[in-house]
C-alpha cells in the first residue's frame, strides 16, 4: 500500500513538474537563478545517491497550537512543491515527512531519537517544549535542526547544531521599540507580559528600548496563561495612567485585552505596540476592527511586492480562506530552500555511508550562509542566526498591516 502511495505521489510530482514548470519559471528571482546554476554545477561533480530527498518535519499538527503547525507545514510543503516543479534538489524530488509531536516532549524525544539514525537534516521541532526536549539528542548525535520559528536564545543553546531564523532578542527588539516609543512620545508605559517561552526575555528587551527613548515601564502586568476574561488586567493597567502600552503575550489575549482597554476609554491606538509573536491569525480573527491603529513590529513584511512573494501570498490565501500569510508563514518555506541550496552547493549526495560528514557540511554551510534568497529578502547568517534581517513597524487597519517604518540593523 505504502509503495502504491509513494508511486502515486512521485507520478503526481512528475505531472506537476511538467505542467507547472514553465509558469513558475517566470517568477524566479535572480537569486534562485544563480542558485540553480550552482546546483547544476554541483550535480555534475557529485553523484546523488538518493532517488528522493526526504526531509522530516517535527511539527505540532495536533494539540493546542495545531492551527499554527498547519500553516508552518503548508509553507514547507508549498516550497517542496515549487522545488519539485523546478526540477527538485540536485535533480531529485524532495518530500516533506510529516511527524506530529502534539507538543509532547516525550513524543518529540522518541521521534528525534529515530531520526538521528538516518535523517540528513531535520526541520523543527515546533514549539519550544519539544525543542528543549528533542534538540539535545540531535546536537549530541550531530544532526542539524532547523528550529526556524524559535527565538535565537533557544537555538543558541545547541549551537552549532540548531539554527534560528531570528537574531538575538535583546539587540534587535530594543531598536524597534525605541523607534516606536520616540514616535509615540512614550513617557510612562505599561507592559502586558505572559510567562511563556522567550516572551519574558522579549519583554525585558522592550523595557530597554523604552529606556533608550527616555521612557519608563510603570508596571509589567502579568497575563495568566489560562485567563479567559481580561477585565481585571485592563483595569490594573489603566489604574496606573500609562500613556503607552506594550504587549508581550499570546495573540488571542492581546486582542481581548485591547477590547477591554477600549471599553474603558483607551483611544490612542497608535500608542499601543504589539510584539512580533502575536502576529498570528488569532490576533486578527479575535480583535477584528478593534485593533485598528495599533502598531505591531515584525521580521516579515506582508506588503512586499515581488513576484515570488505575491505568488506565495496568493496560494496561501487560496488555501486559508482568504487570510493573509502570517509572520511565521515563510519560515519553513525558507528552511526548505536553504536546505536545497546547502545540498546543491556542498555537493551532498545523500549517501548513507557519508551521513555524518554530509550532515556537518549542511550545518556549516547554513550557519554562515551568504546572501540567502529568502522569500522576503536576502540575508546572511553569522553563527547560526541572521545578522542582517530587517525589522518592520506596521499599523494595523482592518486586518491588514500598513508599513510605518523599516529598521535595518547596522
Amino acid at each position: 500500500m505504502k509503495k502504491i502511495i509513494h508511486l502515486l505521489f512521485i507520478s503526481s510530482l512528475i505531472l506537476l513538474t511538467v505542467s507547472c514548470g514553465g509558469k513558475n519559471g517566470k517568477n524566479e528571482t535572480k537569486g534562485t537563478e544563480s542558485a540553480d546554476r550552482a546546483a547544476a554545477e554541483a550535480v555534475e561533480t557529485a553523484e546523488v545517491v538518493v532517488t528522493e530527498w526526504n526531509i522530516p518535519f517535527l511539527n505540532c499538527l495536533t494539540g493546542p497550537i495545531a492551527g499554527i503547525g498547519e500553516y508552518l507545514q503548508w509553507g514547507a510543503e508549498y516550497a517542496a512543491e515549487q522545488i519539485n516543479a523546478e526540477g527538485g534538489i540536485a535533480g531529485k524530488p524532495v518530500r516533506i515527512e510529516r511527524i506530529d509531536t502534539g507538543m509532547s516532549p516525550e513524543k518529540g524525544t522518541v521521534a528525534m531519537s529515530k531520526l538521528v539514525e538516518d535523517a540528513l537534516v531535520v526541520m523543527g521541532p515546533v514549539p519550544e517544549p519539544v525543542i528543549m526536549a528533542a534538540v539535545p539528542i540531535a546536537a549530541e548525535e550531530g544532526l542539524y535542526c532547523f528550529t526556524a520559528t524559535t527565538s535565537y536564545e533557544y537555538a543558541a543553546e545547541y549551537f552549532p547544531w540548531a539554527i534560528s531564523f531570528f537574531p538575538p532578542t535583546e539587540e534587535k527588539l530594543q531598536i524597534a521599540v525605541k523607534a516606536w516609543a520616540e514616535k509615540a512620545g512614550a513617557g510612562k508605559a505599561v507592559q502586558f507580559v505572559e510567562n511563556y517561552g522567550a516572551w519574558p526575555g522579549m519583554a525585558k528587551a522592550h523595557a530597554l528600548g523604552l529606556e533608550a527613548a527616555g521612557a519608563q515601564v510603570l508596571e509589567n502586568v502579568e497575563v495568566p496563561t489560562d485567563a479567559v476574561t481580561f477585565g481585571p488586567l485592563a483595569v490594573k493597567a489603566l489604574a496606573r495612567n500609562p500613556d503607552t502600552i506594550i504587549f508581550a503575550c499570546n495573540a488571542e489575549k492581546v486582542a481581548k485585552i485591547i477590547i477591554e482597554l477600549k471599553n474603558r476609554g483607551w483611544k490612542d491606538m497608535n500608542k499601543i505596540l504589539i510584539f512580533s509573536s502575536a502576529d498570528d491569525a488569532a490576533l486578527y480573527t479575535t480583535g477584528g476592527e478593534s485593533l485598528n491603529g495599533a502598531i505591531i513590529y515584525n521580521f516579515s513584511n506582508s506588503n512586499l511586492d515581488t513576484p515570488r512573494w505575491n505568488e506565495f501570498s496568493r496560494a496561501f490565501k487560496e488555501d486559508h480562506e482568504g487570510m493573509e500569510p502570517f509572520s511565521l508563514s515563510p519560515n519553513y518555506y525558507d528552511a526548505v530552500y536553504m536546505i536545497k541550496r546547502a545540498i546543491e552547493e556542498t555537493g551532498v549526495t545523500g549517501d548513507p555511508n557519508k551521513l555524518a560528514e554530509e550532515r556537518e557540511k549542511i550545518m556549516k554551510y547554513c550557519n554562515d550562509i551568504e546572501k540567502f534568497d529568502g522569500l522576503q529578502f536576502t540575508w546572511t547568517n553569522r553563527g547560526g542566526f541572521p545578522a542582517d534581517k530587517p525589522l518592520f513597524l506596521f499599523e494595523i487597519q482592518n486586518g491588514k498591516k500598513i508599513l510605518v517604518d523599516k529598521i535595518i540593523p547596522e
Binding site: 502511495i5 506530529d100 516525550e106 522518541v110 539514525e117 526536549a133 517561552g197
Partner: protein, 305 residues
C-alpha cells in the same frame, strides 16, 4: 541499544512508575494527583543539586525520593482520610503552586527550564544502558513491594476501605493511617520518578509536568485495570507508545484515534483490561495446575466491581 529503544523503554518505565503512584492511593479510592507535583519538585531539585553542587546521582536519587516522601507525608497528615474530591483539589493546588513557583523563580530557569543535566557516566551509550538498568531495577523493586502490599493484611484492609469504609472501620481498620501510608509512598514514587526523568531527558521545563501527564497516567491505570497493579504494566507501553507508530497519513489524527480507542475500551471493559478476578484465575490455574477455580472471597469480588 538504539536511541529510540532507550527513550521508549525509559519513558515507558516512568509512566509505569507514575501510574503506580496513582494506583496506590486509589486502593482506598483517593485520586492523588499531587504525585505529579512531587515529580516536578524532585526533578528540579535533582537538576539544581547536580549542576550547582555536583551531587552524585545516587545521593540525588535518594534525596529526591525522600523529598517526595516528606512532602507527601506532611500533606497526608491533613488529607490522609479525606474524601476523593478533597484529595483531587489538593493535587490541583500543588500542581499549580509548583508550576507557578518554577515559572517565576529565576533559579529554576523560568518558563525555559533547566538543561544540560550531566550524564551519570561519561560514555553516552554506557550512560543509556546504565540508566535503563537503574530505571527498570526501580520498576521491579516498586512492583515487588506493591505486590507484597496487595497481598498483605494492609492491602486487604485497603480493599475493604475501597468497598465500604464503615465496615472497614468496624473491623478495626484505621483509614487515616492507611491513607497516610499510601499517599506518602505514592509521593515517594513521584519524587523518584522525577529524578529518573530528569536524568533520562537531561533537561526539564515546566511544560513537562502538566495535567496532560496526569491524563496519560489516569488513562494507563483505568484502561489497564485499576483493581490490580498488573494492568499498568500492560497499558503503559501500548498506550503512550501507540501514537508513535501511526502511519504518516494519520499523524494529524493521532489524538482523535487515541481518544476513540480509549472510549471503546472503557465501554467494553469499564473495569479495565486486567481485573482482579482475572489475576486470581491465572494464579489459581497456576496453583492447581490447570484446574479452573473461581474466587469465592466476597471482598475480592466486590473490589473488582
Amino acid at each position: 541499544m538504539t536511541l529510540t529503544l532507550f527513550y521508549y523503554l525509559a519513558i515507558t518505565a516512568i509512566y509505569i512508575l507514575m501510574s503506580w503512584s496513582v494506583y496506590l492511593p486509589y486502593r482506598i479510592g483517593q485520586l492523588h494527583f499531587m504525585t505529579v507535583a512531587n515529580m516536578a519538585i524532585s526533578a528540579y531539585f535533582s537538576a539544581l543539586m547536580t549542576i550547582h553542587f555536583s551531587w552524585p546521582f545516587p545521593l540525588v536519587l535518594l534525596a529526591g525520593t525522600l523529598l517526595g516522601a516528606l512532602t507527601g507525608f506532611a500533606v497526608s497528615t491533613a488529607v490522609g482520610d479525606a474524601p476523593c474530591f478533597a484529595v483531587v483539589i489538593v493535587g490541583f493546588t500543588f500542581i499549580y503552586l509548583t508550576k507557578t513557583v518554577i515559572e517565576n523563580v529565576e533559579i529554576f530557569g523560568g518558563p525555559l527550564g533547566i538543561f544540560n543535566i550531566p550524564k551519570i557516566i561519561n560514555s553516552s551509550s554506557g550512560n543509556r544502558i546504565l540508566l535503563i538498568i537503574i530505571v527498570y531495577f526501580f520498576v521491579f523493586l516498586t512492583g515487588f513491594f506493591i505486590n507484597r502490599f496487595d497481598r498483605s493484611k494492609l492491602g486487604r484492609a485497603a480493599s475493604t476501605i475501597f468497598v465500604d469504609r464503615n465496615i472497614a472501620v468496624s473491623f478495626g481498620v484505621n483509614p487515616k493511617k492507611i491513607g497516610m501510608f499510601l499517599q506518602t509512598w505514592s509521593s515517594a514514587i513521584g519524587g523518584m520518578s522525577g529524578v529518573l526523568y530528569a536524568f533520562i531527558m537531561r533537561g526539564i521545563s515546566p511544560n513537562h509536568f502538566t495535567f496532560n501527564f496526569i491524563g496519560i497516567c489516569m488513562t494507563i491505570l483505568f484502561v489497564g485495570g485499576y483493581s490490580t497493579m498488573w494492568g499498568t504494566l500492560l497499558a503503559a507501553p501500548i498506550l503512550w507508545g501507540f501514537p508513535l507508530i501511526l502511519p504518516e497519513s494519520l499523524q494529524a489524527w493521532n489524538i482523535v484515534i487515541y481518544g476513540i480507542l480509549l472510549v471503546i475500551i472503557l465501554l467494553l471493559k469499564p473495569e479495565g483490561i486486567i481485573t482482579r478476578v482475572m489475576v486470581q484465575r491465572v494464579e489459581n490455574i497456576r496453583l492447581f495446575s490447570g484446574k479452573k477455580v473461581t474466587p469465592k472471597s466476597p471482598s475480592n469480588k466486590k473490589a473488582a466491581q
